[in-house]
Amino acid sequence: MDLFLQLLANGLVIGTFYALSALGLTLVFGLMRVVNFAHGELYVVGGLLGWALTDLVGLNFFLTLAVVIFSLAVGGYLIDRLLMARVRGQGEEPTILLTIGLSIFLTNTALLIVGTAPQKVVSPFANKPLFLGPVVITQSRLVLVAISAIVILVAHLLIQRTTLGRSMRATFQDSMAAQLSGIRTSHVYGFTFALGAALAGAAGMLLSSIYVAQATIGDVVSLKAFVVVILGGMGSFAGAIVGGLVLGITEALWGGYMSSGYVDAIGFALVIAMLLVRPYGLFGKYAERA
């Protein structure tokens, strides 16, 4: 029973981190319908930038976080205006290719600059273990779970309560109607991608203070994020949380009780199984139109 509680706690913590790392993709893939294979690379760029600023330059953690969010937002906006905008409305294939090209470019350029060594963001939170009954959690993880919850909440409020969020939802439901009612849709696309990139970068920086930032982990992050978004259903933050937690807990329990070799396959198996039963996600809504 103690083992079960510990595994459950680990699963919850990791699940929250999965949800955090998939937030950006929830926006870009879930809402905007851009299959963004460069998501993991944006996460890596955030992590490496965070490492460079905290470790090499010696900047304060929260100041670095602000810098990372700002620079990735600018980068994301430029990516959308310079690349994605040119293939908008041509189906998903060109965007998939563009983002794959972008991810190859980012990964290998990062490899050229920082090499293959794993790097760590300097964290201000103590790595002390906390004992909650039979469960042990380190302090830094607990703090990060709290930060993740705040970030998710802020993103949710931004989409649901602000004018920008409302125009985003309008644009992705029917861009023509949105344009007719005076929304500058090209800006909305740009801002959404910028927000997605900023969230990916922030997640990369935050999680690299516990795990590591490494130029080559982008693929894995992208894949897990896709799994989380699809499990939760497209474009809903509540869904992303559920998807992340489902993935985290299943992986933790499987790794604890069964074999650890196939842990990474679980997410894919879950996605395959779920798309067979509910093709558009646990909370997804989808209607086919001619």
Binding site: F29, R33, V35, L83, R86, V87, Q90, E92, E93, P94, I96, L97, L98, I100, G101, L102, S103, I104, F105, L106, T107, N108, T109, L111, L112, D219, L223, F226, V227, I230, S259, G261, Y262, D264, A265, F268, A269, V271, I272, L275, L276, P279, Y280, A290
Partner: protein
């Protein structure tokens, strides 16, 4: 149709003569790689160009073919031609199962789920050590007698001609498939799914048929690769083969049979040429992918056919 057939026949004649002109072992190695890539690109193109979906996990079938051929020759001590026949059959079987599941989905969901299947297979190849020898891979795949006869140059030439035969068979089957009623129906589905459905075409079965054929060709390529390299590891399921396939088909021109062939030749030569740039070459590759999508959206063949069509139109008008 005739234009495409003539292009392919001319390419075949050139390919047959190439070893006589290029008395060079390295050039023959490149030739073998080109034949392998032509098979892969043709297979990937059948789905991208004629079903209109984007199977990002197409390496699954390459890997299944390669592992089947490797296991047949190492575990069962089968000769090469049996292993090479078993590879496409096994891949087609996997194609049937995976296609039956994934073709219910469309768009981004299809993309991700096919990728999931390839990843699951990669993880199995990595972890089922009893069967696949895990990350160490299967090495020492026995070569047939024609492949060890003569000096190094002649061995390469033998492989080149076998590769050419397999690639020609793949292209011939694809040609007959694409220009049959089934192929035309597939194009109807690709162009407008709902119109096609309304005249009694079932998109699912057409898609599945194409999917199985494409899987078999990828498996054929995998079997050839396994024997040529004489080693198979889990990286055959990996993303790097996928990326080359995508670039070949898209740069060459999807939805044509000649396009992927041109793309395959270009990509193999480009990869060899960029070797001088060492690590920088992958970054350059990424930039090339983006440039192709932005500036050559229909690939080189799209560009050529448009020129050809205007030429024909002008000729008929003047006549």
């Amino acid at each position: 149709m005739i234009f495409e057939r003539n292009c392919l026949l001319i390419a075949l004649v050139f390919a047959l003569l190439a070893p006589l002109l290029l008395q060079n072992q390295y050039a023959m190695h490149i030739g073998v790689l080109i034949m392998f890539s032509v098979m892969l690109a043709t297979s990937f193109n059948l789905i991208v160009g004629y079903v209109g979906e984007f199977p990002l996990g197409h390496t699954a079938f390459l890997g299944v073919g390669a592992y089947t051929a490797a296991l047949f020759s190492t575990r069962l001590a089968m000769p090469y031609h049996v292993a090479e026949l078993a590879a496409p059959l096994a891949a087609a079987l996997f194609g049937l199962v995976i296609g039956a599941i994934t073709l219910r989905l469309r768009g981004p969901f299809f993309v991700i789920v096919t990728l999931c299947f390839a990843e699951v297979l990669r993880l199995i190849a990595n972890n089922w050590i009893g069967l696949t020898n895990g990350p160490m891979g299967i090495s020492g795949i026995e070569k047939p007698s024609w492949a060890i006869a003569g000096d190094a140059f002649q061995q390469k030439v033998s492989y080149y001609y076998v590769g050419l035969l397999l690639a020609a068979v793949s292209l011939f089957v694809s040609y007959r498939f694409v220009y049959s009623n089934i192929g035309r129906a597939a194009i109807a589905v690709r162009e407008n799914r709902f119109v096609a459905q309304s005249i009694g075409i079932s998109p699912f079965y057409l898609g599945l048929l194409t999917f199985v054929l494409a899987a078999a060709i990828a498996g054929l390529a995998g079997g050839f690769y396994a024997n040529y390299v004489s080693f198979v590891g889990p990286e055959v399921f990996g993303f790097s083969f996928m990326i080359s396939m995508i670039i070949m088909v898209l740069a060459g021109g999807k939805g044509t049979l000649v396009g992927p062939v041109i793309g395959a030749i270009l990509v193999v030569l480009l990869e060899e040429y960029l070797r001088d740039f060492k690590e920088l070459r992958f970054s350059i590759f990424g930039l090339i992918v983006m440039a192709v999508v932005l500036f050559l959206p229909r690939g080189i063949m799209g560009f050529i056919t448009r020129r050809h069509e205007t030429y024909v139109r002008r000729a008929t008008r003047d006549a």
